[in-house]
Amino acid sequence: MLQIKNLHASIDGKDILKGINLTVNAGEVHAIMGPNGSGKSTLSAVLAGNEAFKVTEGEVHYFGKDLLEMSAENRSREGIFLSFQYPIEIPGVSMVNFMKTAVNEHRKYKGLDPIAASDFLKLMRDKKELVGIDSQLTNRSVNEGFSGGEKKKNEIFQMAMLEPILAILDETDSGLDIDALRVVANGVNKLKTKDNAAIVITHYQRLLDYIVPDFVHVLSQGKIIKTGGKELALELEEKGYDWLK
């Protein structure tokens, strides 16, 4: 579904991605690991359409379409979901309003009528249960005053609501306690089908015990320097990244 070829991207004239190649097929889980500052979040931001980053070279195709030509909102409507490493607070906007707006924008794109209020509330309830998020959180403003872990759970809740085809989870595990990690990972696994795919960015092999990857990639200084199976994560956990250089 996704082909990334020789992708280069920069911000403020500083090159960050320096030739990424990656192919993701339906049903696959790809883990991306790598040292701080290697460009993992940049890659996810570029895939999601953040215009703060400039693509200087390369191409990306999503179901055969030129992804880089698409607006961020259309990428979302076409099924790309980014779970942010640092979710954004929107004061005064309730989660209910926010989610209903998002869901209806997705429906409009598909030519569907806005969701009925009762159906929406039921959907919220079901998905909250699925990802094990505290009911109270959705009564509050988007991420405002949420703890680090609550923000991450909220990202997965939103993912469950929007049922993406390609989910990019940027360090969704960091900040979660052990129980929450299990709950969130279970949520991700429940949403997994043979038709969708996930790119899971993480620093810890622990998450990969729950969400088992088909491939593990190591990103360093803007390039994928090694690709392997799930056992590569264990090796990295033990040896760090230095031996790869």
Binding site: A48, G49, N50, E51, A52, S71, A72, E73, R75, S76, R77, F81, L82, F84, P87, I88, I90, P91, G92, V93, S94, V96, N97, F98, K100, T101, A102, N104, E105, H106, Y109, P114, I115, A117, N139, S141, V142, Q158, L162
Partner: protein, 482 residues
């Protein structure tokens, strides 16, 4: 309180000013221009008693000696009073006790504006006084309210039927020489609403006035007088729209509120006069003097305003806190886009002991607009242990607009605590991207974020109008980003 958002999102597909239509009704007008004869003519048309004419003539004399104020952060073009028609009334039958007698074209107009005048069709629990150009067209639920002793009528009717009350209170809060536009209004005002809530009565429904400018080349000068006697309560709402025209039209209103002992008045405004087009052509000049006096002890006046319309807004709803322990509040959202200019804020005058005031102002500027908060907190020596808190926030969309804050503080005693906080922020790229990533286009995202920003104020509005106001914020900012 979660406000239903999907209705809002749906309705906001058209970015044009929705209320810009004109109703073709036969209109009675007086010749344009302003002179003593104009004043006399208006008074005569309204069949007013002598004292009312005297009040007008006195005001006109004062007006002639005054000059248009220039201290606001506004560019006000010269207003040619000789080009304005000061009285225009849709021709209708003289008595309007039954709806059958209201011109169907007028009913249709108010229907189109979302203000049905058939009592059974109105939002449950809202009584409406509908004013078109210079006259009140219809006041609903009058009889039901009268049973409780509540007077809710057009101003003209009040002058005829309750002259003692009008005479007692008219001009006691905003004297005719208060300012240039107040003097003008006092001379030529044509209609408006009058409310009297008797002792101990809690008004069982929202009262509301809907102002509509329709005729071309006219000015609208209405006056609202609300009196809440001891231990009474009323919530009052004002809405307004006008057709789209290339010429500017003048609106200069006065609102006076009086609260006696332990009475409370909540006054909300959703101001949506035509703002002019994208190039700044046309639009309403909105010069309004709104002031309430907490005469009685422990009484309370609360102003809530959502200002999205008008080419120029000049307006400072204020509270004179005379009674000990009285409370004044001001909640405001003012949006300016394209070439709109707004200079708005509040004055809190603390005269009584232990009086409290609160100012929450949220300015939102986009396009090439200018948005200023101007406020005064004054505490006299005798007003011990008073408190004020002011919070003035500005949100900027884009970099061609301006936001300004002019707080004036005058404190004459040591026991008072006055706090002022101000912030200016830009709508965050990261917030927009977060919304985009969830499938919202930037326009929808801006609407959502702005509504969140204004939530504290919107929550103060009666429910039905909060939804309306939320939509308005979104519509007024369309095309302002990206």
């Amino acid at each position: 309180m979660a406000i239903d958002n999907d209705k809002i999102i749906d309705d906001v597909t058209q970015s044009e000013y929705k209320y810009g239509f004109y109703t073709d009704v036969e209109t009675e007008m007086i010749p344009k221009g302003l002179n003593e004869e104009t004043v006399r003519r208006i008074s005569k048309l309204k069949n007013e008693p002598e004292w009312m004419l005297e009040f007008r003539l006195d005001a006109y004399k004062k007006f002639k000696a005054m000059k248009c104020p220039n201290w606001a952060h506004l560019k006000i073009p010269e207003i040619d009073f000789n080009e304005i028609i000061f009285y225009a009334a849709p021709k209708t039958k003289p008595t309007l006790d039954s709806l059958d007698e209201v011109d169907p074209a007028l009913l249709e107009t108010f229907n189109k504006l979302g203000i049905p005048l058939e009592e059974q069709k109105i939002f449950a629990g809202v009584a409406v006084d509908a004013v078109m150009d210079s006259v009140s067209v219809k006041t609903t639920f009058k009889t039901a309210l009268a049973e409780k002793g509540i007077i809710f009528s057009s101003f003209s009717e009040a002058v005829q039927h309750h002259p003692d009350l009008v005479k007692k209170y008219l001009g006691t809060v905003v004297p005719s020489h208060d300012n240039y536009f107040a003097a003008l209004n006092s001379a030529v005002f044509s209609d408006g609403s009058f409310v009297y809530i008797p002792k101990g009565v809690r008004c069982p429904m929202e009262l509301s006035t809907y102002f509509r400018i329709n005729a071309a080349n006219t000015g609208q000068f209405e006056r609202t007088l609300i009196v809440a006697d001891d231990d009474s309560y009323v919530s009052y709402l004002e809405g307004c729209t006008a057709p789209m025209r290339d010429e500017n039209q003048l609106h200069a209103a006065i609102v006076e509120i009086i609260t006696e002992n332990r009475a409370e008045v909540k006054y909300s405004t959703v101001q949506n006069w035509y703002p002019g087009d994208k190039e700044g052509k046309g639009g309403i000049f909105n010069f309004v003097t709104k002031r309430g006096i907490c005469r009685g002890e422990s009484s309370k006046i609360s102003w809530t305003q959502v200002e999205t319309g008008s080419a120029i807004t000049w307006k400072y709803p204020s509270c004179v806190l005379m009674g000990d322990n009285s409370v004044g509040e001001f909640y405001s959202v003012a949006v300016t886009n394209n070439h709109q200019q707004a200079d708005t804020g509040s004055k809190m005058i603390h005269l009584g002991k232990n009086t409290k005031s609160l100012i929450i102002s949220k300015g939102i500027s986009a396009g090439k607009s200018q948005n200023s908060y101007r406020g005064l907190v004054k505490v006299i020596k005798r007003a011990e242990n008073t408190r004020n808190f002011s919070q003035c926030d500005s949100l900027l969309l884009g970099d061609k607009c301006g936001a300004h804050t002019f707080p004036y503080i005058d404190i004459q005693n040591d026991s008072s605590v006055v706090e002022h906080e101000a912030t200016t922020s830009k709508i965050g790229e990261d917030q927009l991207f977060y919304c985009n990533q969830r499938g919202m286009d930037t326009e929808t995202a801006v609407g959502l974020i702005v509504n969140g920003y204004a939530r504290e104020v919107l929550n103060k509005l009666p429910m039905e109008f909060a939804v309306e106001a939320q939509k308005l914020l979104q519509v007024s900012l369309e095309g302002s980003v990206g």
